[in-house]
Amino acid sequence: MTENIPQEQEPMIKCRDVHKWYSHFHALRGISLEVAKSEVIVIFGPSGSGKSTFIRILNRLEEHQRGQVIVDGIELTHDVRNIERVRAETGMVFQQFNLFPHLTVMQNITLSPIWVRKWPQEEAEELAMKLLTRVGIPEQAHKFPSQLSGGQQQRVAIARALAMQPKIMLFDEPTSALDPEMIKEVLDVMVELAKSGMTIVAVTHEMGFARAVANRMIFFDNGEIVEQGTPEQIFNNPQSDRTKLFLSQILRQ
């Protein structure tokens, strides 16, 4: 699978020596990473290792203080226009879904196509129905988020992110807040998305997902990339002791 990554193109995401501090806490200590188009990256590591911080830097929900982050050829700086352009190109799915509770599922999905992309409402709604069908819940379009199960809410959140027709999808622990029986329905959507050629960066501990679709797995600890490689390399032949220890802990369950 790894061999198929097209190398000749400019990478979708390019990070060079990215640092982030929370007051005096050094959360990210020089992350350098390139993600190619259509590549699926799984980031994993212990809590507090900086993996969420890193993925949130990719669409500027957090600011990095040193280094360079270039997404789809646009460098993230204080320039608000660049930030808005990058955000329009990247979709993000959160651990807590973060659907807008006062809007229906349909309104949640069409909000940004209508207001950011300036699409006419009918067109946006047509797209929303297509996306809801893709994530398997077209019949829920006119309900409010609170009337859906956790798995359905997360699938709406994915549809909402896809409505901007992003080039990159960021997943920040998308299944961690879900009841066990609902994890699969969300993972199925993510797998389908990965196979469709979407560039994906996912923070997740769903090793089944990683094994099935990841091109590369990246192990974060203490704000650093400790190890990276294909799923086979990481699962069968991890190099670092920290990776071994962490994998043994999460795979024991």
């Binding site: 669409n59 929900l61 955000r87 006062h102 950011v116």
Partner: protein, 402 residues
């Protein structure tokens, strides 16, 4: 073999006699308390009932109903407040037709109230058949407005715009008139009084202070230091001063600073004071709602590429305002009652008229209780109604709450 599921019924509620034995007469002390309470209630009700039916003399109210409604507004110009009422009533009906459940109870209540008012036997000398007919038409107009709004042709923003235009025209042009006009001769605000003043100050205060309060609340959380500092300074200054002081400031001190030819009308000055006072409190209430919105909501909206303005307008404010309906309405109710304070700057609102009526006839001096009770009743009806409407609004907006 079929499994038998036994249905267990909840215990039957106790019979009234059992309930009384258990809760009211369980021992000698409870029995004593029950008897004392019952006799207290009995005597209060009897005394009050007897007073209301036989002793109370409502002549000040029944003789001068129009005075309570519009004060000294010239009687030959009464068609102006009358027409204003009818127009507003029609718009209430249209709002009901367009917004349905949000306004329904409000509209029905208002129609019933005005209809009942028309049927009360009052002195026909002052409460002329024309006035009576005006009130009698109100319920019909509300219904007519409802049908018009229900047609589906008129949209919510049309009605909002109509309201805005009508209120501005009524308050700024139609009621005050112009000095040299023959159709609409000027009626100085010194002649206005009674309920019309109370409602004008309350509605004006609410409608104007709400957007200012929301802006101040947003300003207090702004990332721009100048805006934030101004908002904090404004809110804290106004909240630190009693309303009476602010009213004095606006009616006396403001007049000193401004050249006499650019005198602002004293009613407008009072309204400005009320608006500023109310805006500061609204701001703090709204800020409470803003703080209750989880950060994840903003992050999700940012991740979708929405601008800060769009995030505030579509995501944060709608949720925050819904959260603060109870406290905002509570504040508006106290604003409504606080309008009585304008008496101290010489404006005769409903309470002021009540006081003035007592001096109209030497016989009325002993009728203070009746007059003030009547004024209290009017305030209670409106206040209770606001609180009731807010509960309806909360229920209607509760759909899809997290």
């Amino acid at each position: 073999m079929t499994a038998v599921t036994e249905t267990i019924r909840p215990p039957a509620p106790p019979k009234p006699v059992e309930w009384m034995q258990k809760n009211l007469f369980s021992n000698w002390f409870n029995t004593l308390l029950t008897l004392i309470a019952v006799s207290f209630i009995y005597f209060t009700v009897i005394t009050l009932g007897r007073w209301l039916l036989f002793t109370a003399d409502w002549r000040p109210v029944t003789t001068y109903p129009v005075l309570f409604l519009v004060g000294q507004y010239p009687r030959e110009e009464l068609w102006r407040p009358g027409l204003s009422l009818l127009l507003s009533i029609f718009l209430v009906g249209m709002s009901w037709g367009v917004w349905e459940k949000y306004v329904k109870v409000f509209a029905i209540f208002l129609g019933a109230l005005l209809g009942i008012l028309a049927l009360i036997p009052l002195d026909t000398q002052t409460f002329t058949p024309a006035i009576r007919a005006t009130f009698l038409v109100c319920p019909l107009l509300i219904y007519a407005g409802f049908r018009v709004g229900h047609l589906g042709v008129i949209k919510g923003y049309h009605v909002a715009l109509l309201w805005l235009i009508s209120l501005i025209t009524i308050i700024l042009v139609f009621l005050p008139g112009f000095g040299d006009s023959t159709i609409l001769p000027e009626v100085p605000t010194t002649a206005w009084g009674g309920l019309i003043i109370t409602l004008l100050l309350a509605v004006g205060g609410i409608v104007l202070s709400f957007p200012i309060g929301v802006l101040l609340a947003l300003g207090r959380r702004s990332s721009l230091p100048v805006v934030r500092l101004f908002s904090i300074l404004f809110i804290e200054t106004v909240r630190g001063v009693p309303l009476v002081t602010i009213l004095f400031m606006f009616s006396v001190i403001l007049a000193l600073f401004l050249p006499s030819e650019s005198r602002i009308d004293r009613l407008v000055r009072a309204l400005m004071g009320i608006v500023i006072f109310s805006a500061a409190y609204t701001a703090e209430n709204v800020r409470g709602g803003l703080q209750a919105i989880p950060q994840g909501q903003v992050e999700a909206a940012k991740a979708l590429g929405l601008t800060n303005f769009q995030i505030t307008a579509f995501i944060v404010l709608p949720q925050a305002l819904r959260l603060v309906i109870p406290s905002i309405v509570g504040q508006f109710i106290s604003l409504f009652k606080d309008t009585t304070l304008v008496v101290i700057v010489g404006i005769n609102d409903l309470l002021g008229i009540g006081k003035a009526v007592l001096n109209l006839d030497p016989e009325y001096i002993r009728l203070q209780t009746e007059v003030y009770l009547f004024v209290a009743l009017v305030f209670w009806v409106f206040s209770y109604f606001m609180s009731f409407a807010s509960q309806q609004l909360e229920k209607a907006l509760g759909v899809g709450e997290r």
